[in-house]
């Protein structure tokens, strides 16, 4: 097995004449928190969708845990936990039922109670999905991504809609999950989050990787005080 957990080489994906991802390459090592940064429409979500086998790339090579996400889709779903931006649940499904349902999908699931407590959803087991606040839905979605004890967690817009307290709790949880050896792929356009959590990041713009490195390197190379300033300079240049 190679040293990288995720390898993406020259990924290209178009919808009709619209090129969503032009040429994206990056690698993620085991136990890393890797951030994919980019403005809206930069190609982040399409990249991730190819990576988890929801879409088939037009060109390029992807390996996740040494496997092809398209061909070995079922095998990988057991080891990759996913939190989607718009993946929802039935309105009347209760929190406890959702956890029990998703537990039944995996051979060795995590403890639902513990996970809900860590995500601040303790005592919400009987609440239907439709009655949850935006932030609670988001946290339930994270819980479902982690319930199967994945080797890799792919989290799209992790803390969108969370208040500052919930956001920090979630960051702490992600750090803890990583400390257990889980590799984390974080998709975000929220720079303080990337700065705080990510070991390395790739900035995607117009379907290509502009730069990749540690948040500190990127900030220093652009001669800016924060990652957000560096990001704005980088992605504004070619806009």
């Amino acid at each position: 097995m190679s040293a990288s957990v995720i390898e993406v080489e020259h990924l290209h994906k178009a919808y009709g004449t619209t090129v969503a991802v032009d040429d994206v390459s990056f690698t993620v090592g085991p136990g890393e928190i890797f951030g994919i940064l980019g403005r809206n429409g930069a190609g982040k979500t399409t990249t991730v969708e190819c990576l988890i086998g929801l879409r088939t790339p037009d060109r390029g090579r992807i390996r996740v845990l040494g496997r092809d996400p398209h061909r070995d889709h079922e095998e990988l779903t057991r080891r990759v936990g996913v939190q989607l931006q718009d993946g929802q649940l039935p309105d009347r499904l209760r929190v406890g039922e959702a956890m029990r349902l998703y537990q039944s999908f995996y051979p060795d699931p995590a403890d639902a109670k513990e996970l809900l407590a860590q995500l601040g959803l303790k005592g919400r087991e009987k609440t239907p999905y439709a009655k949850l606040s935006g932030g609670q839905k988001q946290r339930l979605s994270i819980a479902l991504a982690l319930i199967g004890r994945p080797r890799i967690a792919v989290l799209d817009e992790l803390t969108t809609g969370l208040d500052p307290h919930a956001r920090r709790d979630t960051w702490d949880l992600i750090s803890e999950v990583r400390d257990q050896g889980v590799t984390i792929l974080l998709v975000t356009h929220f720079m303080p989050e990337a700065e705080r959590l990510c070991d390395r990041v790739a900035v995607i713009h117009d379907g290509r990787v502009l730069v990749a490195g540690t948040p500190a390197e990127l900030t220093a190379n652009e001669g800016q005080p924060t990652l957000e300033d560096a990001f704005v300079t980088l992605t504004g240049r070619t806009a």
Binding site: V80, P90, L93
Partner: protein, 243 residues
């Protein structure tokens, strides 16, 4: 799969629309018809049967059409619209099992409802059980499969839950009309009767009425249902998208 089916069943019961329209409404119609003396008179133009005798098969086909066209498509198209199926594609279970669970629930509810209608009609109003039971079971199963296939086609073609409801109703009402809910097929003008025979509902009712009076269902009616089942299922499979 068991947990998935049980949770889907619980949601189905919690939603209330399925049990109310698929089980409650046909039973209420049966009780209303059964208490009208007009429906219980033997009639020469129906070959000595009562109107209620003729209506029981119609109500059974009504149950199947209700579940297949008004309940199932809205659930499936709603799940797709909300991203429920998309989310499941990222799990080892996959969305096909949800489809399977929904089909199990639809057929289970249909079985419960059909049995309830037959038993109530027999015990409360003296309507005899079908005199050709094997033919009746075969017809009911074929009708359920054909109508469910049409329902899946509606779910595949509709962009979302609301649209599925609208399309489902637009197919349902002409279908139950042609099945004889408002005007028994025997009393329809010839042209309408021929049109009716070509629909899965009309074929189902005709075949069931054959078995009520002790005959094996006419092969043309059985073939009609098989063709609808195959055609609609193929079209649905071609059109269906998980997201």
């Amino acid at each position: 799969m068991t947990t998935l089916t049980l949770i889907e069943l619980r949601l189905f019961l919690r939603e209330k629309a399925g049990p109310a329209f698929g089980v409650g409404l046909p039973l209420i119609l049966l009780i209303i018809f059964g208490n009208l003396p007009f429906y219980r008179e033997r009639r020469d133009d129906l070959g000595g049967l009562t109107l209620l005798d003729v209506y029981v098969p119609i109500l059974i086909a009504f149950v199947l059409a209700m579940l297949a066209l008004n309940v199932l498509p809205a659930v499936l198209a709603g799940y797709r619209e909300k991203g429920v199926l998309r989310r499941l594609r990222t799990t080892p279970v996959g969305p096909a099992r949800v489809l399977a669970a929904q089909l199990i629930i639809t057929l289970l509810t249909a079985a419960v409802s059909v049995t309830t209608v037959l038993l109530t009609a027999r015990l409360a109003y003296g309507v005899a059980f079908p005199r050709q039971p094997a033919g009746f079971v075969l017809t009911t199963v074929l009708a359920a499969v054909a109508l469910t296939a049409v329902g899946l086609l509606v779910a595949a073609a509709a962009p979302g839950g609301r649209a599925a409801n609208a399309i489902g109703s637009a197919v349902f009402y002409p279908m139950v009309f042609l099945g004889g809910l408002f005007l028994p097929i025997q009393t329809m003008p010839a042209v309408l009767r021929h049109v009716s025979q070509a629909t899965p509902m009309g074929a189902a009712v005709t075949a069931m009425q054959d078995t009520t009076s002790g005959h094996w269902p006419h092969w043309l009616a059985l073939i009609t249902m098989v063709l609808w089942a195959g055609g609609a299922a193929l079209a649905a499979a071609k059109l269906f998208r998980w997201e």
